[in-house]
């Protein structure tokens, strides 16, 4: 098996190396003239995101507006992954023994106090990443992962029960559903106002204080990213909880 794997890998590697190094029409690294960089689509994105959406960060604009369908179903994929992990590993124990706190398992005072100081700052930073994602790197996915990591930090520093008291399993699933509903809601709102699904420009008719389609896209993107953040936060926390406790959702790592 190992020998066969070696032969297969070596052959495929040689073919690919030949392909990337000696074929003439394979563009070299860093040429602006390669087909991928000269394609009308990417040129359109670079030239027009700022006038279409008022968002300086092209990646956010393309992610949440031009490719809105894609991102919506990526969010659904994350939600379904959470549901799948729940279905695979979750076990329900009736009247299970609660965790015995001994000297070894008691949370350490230095770690908990540092976490007390840091976790609000981490969550604030996650919100900053979310809200400032329009003009600097960041956005819903990154902010959601950082927020989820802050809950994981609570679970690591104290234990999972304390974290579940703040953000229970049921709340987490509800939040992840709410995230997708927020996302789809922005799409449906634009449908009801007479545009295509996820074509946010029309929302300026109902948003107070917004009078141009561009600014409507700007704010709708923020809303969509908030939806993404809800889903990613709760699913990351759930995955950690389920994996660290073999699906028991109590005590844990």
């Amino acid at each position: 098996m190992k020998k066969l794997a070696g032969i297969v890998v070596f052959t495929v590697g040689l073919i690919l190396l030949y392909g990337v190094s000696s074929l003439d029409d394979f563009p070299s690294w860093g040429t602006p003239d390669s087909p991928a960089n000269k394609s009308p689509l990417s040129q359109y994105f670079i030239k027009n995101t700022i006038v279409d959406t008022e968002v300086p960060n092209m990646v956010t604009a393309v992610l949440a507006d031009y490719r809105g369908y894609d991102t919506m179903f990526e969010t659904v994929v994350i939600f379904v992954a959470g549901l799948g992990i729940f279905a695979v590993v979750r076990v329900f124990e009736h009247g299970g023994a609660s965790r015995v706190v001994t000297a070894d398992t008691k949370p350490d005072i230095i770690i908990t106090n540092t976490c007390r100081l840091l976790i609000p700052l981490i969550q604030l930073f996650a919100l900053y990443v979310l809200a400032h994602g329009h003009s600097s790197p960041g956005g819903g996915f990154q902010g959601g992962v950082i927020m989820g990591a802050s809950f994981i930090l609570v679970a690591l520093a104290w234990d999972l029960d304390i974290a579940l008291k703040r953000f229970s399993e049921k709340q987490a699933f509800i939040c992840s559903g709410i995230g997708i509903l927020i996302y789809a809601g922005f799409g449906l709102a634009s449908v009801f106002l007479g545009e295509e699904f996820l074509n946010y420009g029309i929302i300026h008719k109902i948003l107070p204080g917004v009078d141009s389609p561009e600014m409507a896209r700007y704010y709708a993107m923020l809303g969509v990213e908030i939806g993404v953040m809800f889903t990613v936060t709760s699913i990351m926390f759930l995955i950690y909880g389920l994996l660290a406790t073999r699906g028991k959702m109590t005590a844990g790592l």
Binding site: M1, L4, A5, G6, V8, V9, F10, V12, G13, L16, L17, V20, S21, F26, S28, W29, G30, T31, P32, A36, N37, S39, L41, S42, Q43, Y44, F45, I46, K47, N48, T49, I50, V51, P56, N57, M58, V59, V62, L63, R67, D70, T71, E74, V77, I78, A81, G82, G84, I85, V88, V89, S136, P137, F141, V232, I235, I239, L242, L243, R246
Partner: protein, 163 residues
């Protein structure tokens, strides 16, 4: 020669990393090792996409300078539908903020290609979700069979089928 290495090096490493990941996925016995191999394979493909998106050394990250921007919507939209040869004259002062004259259109050669970045950004997040699912299935397998080694697992599965 130096030119040749510089223009191909990223792609060589991408092939080598992808093959390391593939080899790990095929030949390693442990299921978690297989998952690490899968992740290496995945990052190698992301490396390929990001390498494709790189432009020359002077190209910027795909975030426009935006302090009090003067990208004019109307004129830029008229240019957007026309061919890019017509607005070549604006290229020289694209990217410099606080340039007072005229509407600016970002120079397409001055910024890295944002499209592969978007695709790969979502690929990473979905990748961690699928990794979590795979790890959950690994835990379930361990709970069922008590081992993570592929050969022992196959023996136990075959014994279960026959017995």
């Amino acid at each position: 020669m130096e030119e040749f290495i510089q223009s191909r090096f990223n792609y060589w490493i991408y092939v080598i990393l992808m093959m390391i990941g593939l080899w790990g996925m095929i030949s390693k016995n442990n299921l978690i090792k297989k998952l690490i191999g899968m992740s290496i394979f995945q990052t190698a493909i992301i490396l390929f996409y990001v390498s494709v998106a790189v432009k020359s050394e002077t190209a910027n990250i795909p975030i426009l300078p935006h302090h009090g921007h003067d990208y004019s919507p109307k004129i830029a939209f008229a240019h957007a539908v026309s061919d890019d040869h017509e607005n070549g004259g604006h290229d020289d002062h694209a990217g410099h903020q606080a340039h007072p004259v005229g509407p600016k259109i970002p120079d397409p050669d001055g910024y890295a290609n944002p499209l592969p970045h978007v695709l790969m950004l979502t690929a990473i997040v979905v990748g961690v979700a699928t990794l979590g699912l795979a790890l959950a299935i690994t835990q379930k397998i361990y709970r069922e069979y008590g081992t993570l080694e592929e050969d022992q697992l196959l023996e136990k599965v075959r014994a279960d089928d026959h017995g």
